[in-house]
Amino acid sequence: MGGKDAGLEIRGLSVADGDRWLVRDVSLSVSPGTLHMVLGERGAGKSALLEAAAGLRREAKGSVHYARAGDSVASSDNAAPRQRRLLAAFLPREIPAVSLSVAERLIVHRPPRVAGVALHAERGRTAARALASRVGVEALLDVPIEALRPLERRLAELAALIAQEPAALLLDEPTSDLGPHEARQFLTTVRSLAEAEKIPVLFTTTWPRDAYPDAMAVTILWRGADPATVSTKECTEAALVQRWTGGIGIRRAPSGPHTPGDTLLRVEGIVMEGRGRETSLAGIEFEVKSGEVLAVVGAPADGLNLLHDALLGNRVPGRGSIHFLGKEIMRAPRRLRVESGMTFVNPPIARDQSVPEFTVEENLILGQTHVPPFARRGSLRYESIRGNAVRALQDFDLPDITPRTRFRELSLGARQRVLVAREVIHNPRLLVARSPAQGLSLTEQEYVRRTLILQCERGSGLLWLTEEPEEAMRVADRLAVLTAGRLVWIPVTETLTREAIIAEMSGAAA
C-alpha cells in the first residue's frame, strides 16, 4: 500500500462541520485495482471522508491525491475539490429511484450523438449493453431504474460510474440495503471491475464481514478516537471485530428460561404482489407466541420489505389473513393495531418513527396523545409527559439527556434507545422489530437487542425481521429464511452457521 504506487492517497485529512470534527487526521492509500474498506458506525464520519475525497465537501486539513493509470503527474499534487469531482466517481448511499430505463441511465453521462445533436439510438443501446454486461444486468436494459431490486440498482449505477472512466470509485455504504449474499455478489463485481480498469476503490460500511474476501485493507473510524488501518491478510474477521469493538461480546444472554405462551399473531397464506422486480410473497404462514422471538431473515427485495409493510398496515396483501389476539387485522389501520397492543421498532435511520424537531419528551408520547395520562379533554398534560420522559431516560440509561433536549441533537444510538423506550415502556403484547440495531455501534446494538429480548422475556411476543443472519442467530428462538416468497424454517441449534443461512438466502436469489 505504498503511497508511491497509490491510485488514491489521502494524507492527514480532517473534515469539520462548524466547530465539530467529523473526521480527524485520516491517512490511507489505495493501489489501483484494489478495494479499501472504511469501517465505522453511523456518525463516525465515513460519508464525510468520502465526500471530501470526492470533492463534494471541503476538508479543514490534509490532502487527496489521485493518479490515473500511466499518469504520474497528478499523483504528486493535492487535487482541488473541482478536480476531484472530475476524477472520482462517487456513489451515494441512497440512490434516487428515477424512471429512466437502465439503458438510458447508462448512457446519460455521455450519450452517442448524430452530428452532435440527435441521439444515436443504436450506438447508444450497444454502448449500454456493453456496460451492462460488465455488471451482469444486460437482461434489464429496458427496465426502469425505480423497478429494480436494490442489488440491480447498485450494479446499474456502478456500470454508469465506470462509463465515466474515473480515476477512483468512491462508494458510500453500498451494501446498506443488501442482504449478505447480495453484498458479497456486489463487492465481487466491484473487485473484478477495479482489477479490469486498474482503478482504486474506497467504500464504507457498517459490517466487518464486507471486508472479506475482496478488500485489501480496512480503515476503522471511531468517534473521538484516532483511525486505524489494518490489512485483511493479517487480520481475520473475528480479529477485526475485536479491534473495532474493543472486545465487546455480542451474545444473546437470556435472563432465564422461558416457555412460549399463547399465540399472539397468526399469519396465514399471505400472498402479495411485489413492486417492480421485487419478489412477491407466495403464501407466508407463521405464528408468534408470547415470550418467544421469531426471527425472519431475508433480503429486503426478497419479500422482507413486503412482509413488513403488510404487518405495518402500509399495504394490504392480495390474499391470506393476519390475526392478532384472535382478531383479523389485515385491513386495519396502524392506529388500531397499535391500540390493540402491537408496536413497531424500525431501523434507526427510518424516517417514520420520530420527529427530529420535537423534544425527547414529545417524541416519547408520539402516537399516544389521545389517551390518558398524556392528554385530557384535548389538552396535553405536560407534568405527565415530563414524568414519563424522566422515567424513560432513567430506565434506559440516558442520564445526560433531559426531557427538553431536541431529538435531533441526540446521537443515533441515543435516538434508538428513546424510541425503543417509547415502544416497550407500556408493555406491548407484540413487538415487530425491523433491523432495530442496523448501523449502530456494537455497544448500542447489544443494548437494543438486550432490551427487546428482556421485554420478550416479560411476556411479549417478538417478531424480528432482519437481513442479517448473525443478528437473527443472536436473538432467535425460532428462525425462518424468507426465500422465493416463502418461509423456510431452520432449526436453531448450536451448530447453525451464518453460511448455512446465507446459502439458503442466496438459493432464493438465484
Binding site: Q353, S354, V355, P356, E362, L366, G367, T369, L380, Y382
Partner: protein, 352 residues
C-alpha cells in the same frame, strides 16, 4: 419547525428583518423628500385608527399564511381566500335585502366562511388530486380576481387590483344608518386588532398545549412519522387551511367596511400576499408576526409610504425588499427535509 409562538431564529435573522423594516421606513422617507410631494394631511386625525385597522388586517392575513405553515403547507391561496371574502362581502353590500345595520357583522362572517371554503378547496385538491398548494393557490388567486371584480360591480373596487387611493370614496350605508361618530375607524381598529392578537395568541397556545396543536406540529415537521403514529394528517391539513382561509376571508370582507384612508390597497403587490410578507418578516413565529403586522401597518400609513407606493417602480422595489426575509426564514420554517423538498413535495404519503 418553529416552536409555537416563539421565534427560534437566530439573532442574525432577527436583526436582518429589523434592518428590512428600517430600510422601508428610511428609504420611503428619503424618496418622498427627494422627489415626491408630501401629503401632510395624511398625518392628521384618523392616522392612529388607520394604523390599528391596517395592522389588524395584516395580522389576519399573516395568520392565514402562518397557520397552514405550521402544518407544512405553503398557503399561497391566501390571496384567493382574501378575494373570496371580499366578493362575498361585496355581494352583501349590493343586496338591498340585508339590513344596513347588519351588513357589517354578517359580511365579516360570510367573508370568513368564503375564505375557509377556499382554503378547504386547496387542501382537498392537494389530498385528492395531488395538486400542490402553491400551484392551486396561485391559479385560484388569478381566477378569483375577475370574479371579485364582477361581483363588486360599480359599488366597490377590489383593492388588491389597484393601488389607486380613491377606490372607496362613498360613505358606507350601514355607518350612516347607525349614525356612528367619526372615531369609528379607531373603534373598529382597536376591536379588530384585539381580536387578531387574541386569535394569534390563542393559536400559539393551542399549538403548544393541545393535542390538536401537537398533531399540527407533527404533521408539519414530519408527516411520515405523523401518519405512522396514527395521526390523520389529511384532517389536520384541512382544518388549518380552513382556519387560515377564514382569517384571509375575514380580511377581505373587512376591506368593504373601512374608509379609503385605511384600505390596505396601498400594498405594492396583490394584497392577499401581504400575509406571506408578515409571516416571513415575523420569522414564522406568532409573536414575530404580531410585531411585523404592527410595524408594517405603521409604515403603510406614513404619508411618504403612500406617496412612494403610488409610483409603480418604487412599489416593485418595495415588494422585492419585503420578500427578502423569505430567503433566511424559509429554510428554518419548513420541516427537517429543508426548503426545496418541502416546497415541491405534493403529498405527505410520498417517501422522499
Amino acid at each position: 419547525m418553529m416552536t409555537a409562538g416563539r421565534c427560534r431564529a437566530g439573532r442574525r435573522e432577527i436583526l436582518a428583518n429589523l434592518l428590512v423594516v428600517l430600510v422601508l421606513f428610511a428609504g420611503t422617507h428619503a424618496l418622498a423628500i427627494g422627489g415626491l410631494e408630501l401629503n401632510p394631511s395624511a398625518w392628521s386625525a384618523p392616522w392612529t385608527g388607520d394604523v390599528v385597522l391596517v395592522s389588524a388586517g395584516l395580522l389576519f392575513l399573516g395568520l392565514a399564511f402562518l397557520m397552514p405553515l405550521h402544518a407544512g403547507l405553503l398557503n399561497l391561496a391566501v390571496h384567493a381566500q382574501f378575494l373570496a371574502g371580499f366578493a362575498v362581502g361585496a355581494l352583501l353590500v349590493r343586496s338591498a335585502a340585508v339590513d344596513p345595520g347588519a351588513q357589517a357583522g354578517l359580511g365579516l362572517l360570510c367573508g370568513a366562511a368564503a375564505g375557509a371554503l377556499t382554503g378547504l378547496i386547496v387542501a382537498w385538491l392537494k389530498q385528492r388530486c395531488a395538486i400542490h398548494e402553491i400551484l392551486s393557490g396561485l391559479l385560484l388567486s388569478a381566477a378569483f380576481s375577475p370574479l371579485a371584480l364582477a361581483l363588486a360591480g360599480d359599488r366597490v373596487t377590489p383593492p388588491a387590483l389597484t393601488i389607486e387611493l380613491s377606490a372607496l370614496t362613498a360613505p358606507l350605508s350601514w355607518a350612516e344608518a347607525l349614525r356612528l361618530p367619526p372615531s369609528l375607524v379607531l373603534a373598529w381598529g382597536i376591536l379588530l386588532l384585539s381580536l387578531a392578537i387574541a386569535l394569534a395568541l390563542l393559536f400559539a397556545h393551542f399549538l403548544r398545549a393541545s393535542v390538536w396543536g401537537f398533531e399540527v406540529r407533527a404533521s408539519g415537521s414530519n408527516p411520515l412519522a405523523a401518519v405512522a403514529t396514527g395521526m390523520d394528517v389529511d384532517r389536520v391539513q384541512l382544518t388549518v387551511m380552513a382556519l387560515g382561509g377564514a382569517c384571509a376571508g375575514l380580511t377581505g370582507a373587512l376591506q368593504l367596511w373601512t374608509s379609503p384612508a385605511v384600505a390596505l390597497e396601498r400594498w405594492p403587490f396583490p394584497l392577499g400576499f401581504a400575509g406571506v410578507a408578515v409571516a416571513f418578516l415575523g420569522l414564522g413565529s406568532v409573536r414575530g408576526s404580531i410585531a411585523a403586522a404592527l410595524l408594517l401597518g405603521a409604515w403603510l400609513n406614513t404619508p411618504y409610504a403612500s406617496d412612494v407606493l403610488s409610483r409603480p417602480v418604487y412599489g416593485a422595489a418595495i415588494a422585492a425588499l419585503l420578500l427578502l426575509p423569505a430567503l433566511w426564514a424559509l429554510p428554518r420554517l419548513l420541516p427537517e427535509h429543508g426548503a426545496p423538498r418541502a416546497i415541491w413535495r405534493t403529498r405527505h404519503r410520498e417517501s422522499f
